[in-house]
């Protein structure tokens, strides 16, 4: 490359960097299957963009590939934050196709779903390397000390990346958000119902505080 061309390229790169818009924070929504990750992603997108991320179901591993929505702007308390939101498949250490047959699926369909679910978990693990922070969704009606939660929190702490715990499903009578708060007191936590919208404004304030 000639010196003149090199100079021109460097000059162009310098000005590109100088006027580049602030990058959106790339935030992954993680958690075990059926914690309500996609319900939360849909809630965030509906509130701030008017559309949805994907379908939800009571059957585990409904989301089997990561979905990304770029440029979601959340405005709260006079501040705004730009996010790229990644809704990830539920993390698991085991997937048995027989479990899907309990939902009256044919064997072939159950095996196909199980295979896709394993690929989804791999994709979710790979995304861990490419994020600026995580919203970890826990089901407040379940024991919070699952291996998935422990592994995700450990990874974020080791990478020194921000983590916000969402204690979901607080509209259920058996929900116990205090159990989650006591389990992981070192991280911020918000109790919500992604389905009903309970406490959702507090979640947006906490998102702006944690990832802004």
């Amino acid at each position: 490359m000639s010196p003149i061309k090199l100079f021109k390229n460097n000059f162009r790169d310098f000005f590109k960097k100088l006027f580049k818009k602030k990058k959106n924070a790339r935030i992954g929504i993680y958690g075990p299957p059926n914690a309500g990750k996609t319900t939360l992603a849909n809630r965030i997108l509906r509130d701030w963009t008017g559309d949805a991320m994907g379908p939800v179901s009571h059957i585990e591993h409904e989301t089997r590939s990561a979905r990304r929505r770029e440029g979601v702007t959340i405005k709260t308390n006079g501040h705004s934050i730009g996010l790229d939101v990644i809704d990830t498949p539920g993390l698991a250490t085991k997937i048995d196709f027989h479990n899907f047959m309990d939902y009256e699926m044919e064997e072939d369909e159950a095996k196909r779903r199980a295979k896709e679910a394993t690929e989804g978990v791999i994709e979710a693990v790979k995304w861990l390397d490419d994020l600026d922070g995580i919203i970890l969704v826990m089901d407040a009606t379940q024991d919070p000390f699952t291996q998935v939660n422990v592994t995700v929190i450990g990874n974020m702490e080791a990478r020194k990346l921000p983590l916000l715990i969402v204690s979901n499903k607080v509209d259920m009578p058996e929900a116990s958000p205090n159990t989650i708060m006591n389990a992981f007191p070192q991280h911020p936590m918000v109790s919500i119902s992604a389905l009903e919208g309970n406490n959702i404004d507090t979640l947006y304030q906490e998102i702006a505080k944690t990832f802004g």
Binding site: T93, K94, Q147, V150, T151, G154
Partner: protein, 115 residues
């Protein structure tokens, strides 16, 4: 069940560790790791487990570890070290090892013979 000492695993690199664990668990062994795995190794283990799952065969692993303890010593802070202390971990085939209860300092599991 094999109780794996810290020294046994410390000579392996992360990929070797994960391969060793998967190979042993696929032989229906339950492993208790004295020192556990780093969060990154746990994530790699989950990833590799998914690649090994087969219908009517290996359905995955049950893994339980305590939350890692972070070191807040001045040395760790000075040198910006994560200071994560990994802890005892139990790993076995999903069809033989079942976690009954887990909290910050107690893991209760049920170990059964192969189904």
């Amino acid at each position: 069940m094999d109780l794996i000492s810290e020294e046994r695993l410390s000579g392996m690199n992360p990929v070797e560790k994960v391969r060793f664990i998967i190979d042993e668990v696929k032989k229906d062994k339950v492993l208790v790791l004295e020192k556990g795995l780093t969060p990154d190794e746990e994530a790699n283990l989950i990833e590799m487990t998914m690649t090994k799952i087969q219908p009517d065969g290996f359905s995955g692993i049950e893994m339980e570890s305590y939350p890692a303890q972070s070191g807040n010593s001045i040395i760790n802070k000075l040198f910006n070290k994560g200071g994560h202390r990994t802890r005892l971990t139990i790993i076995g085939p999903a069809n033989q090892l079942k976690t009954l209860k887990k909290d910050r300092d107690l893991i209760t599991t049920l170990l059964s013979s192969k189904e």
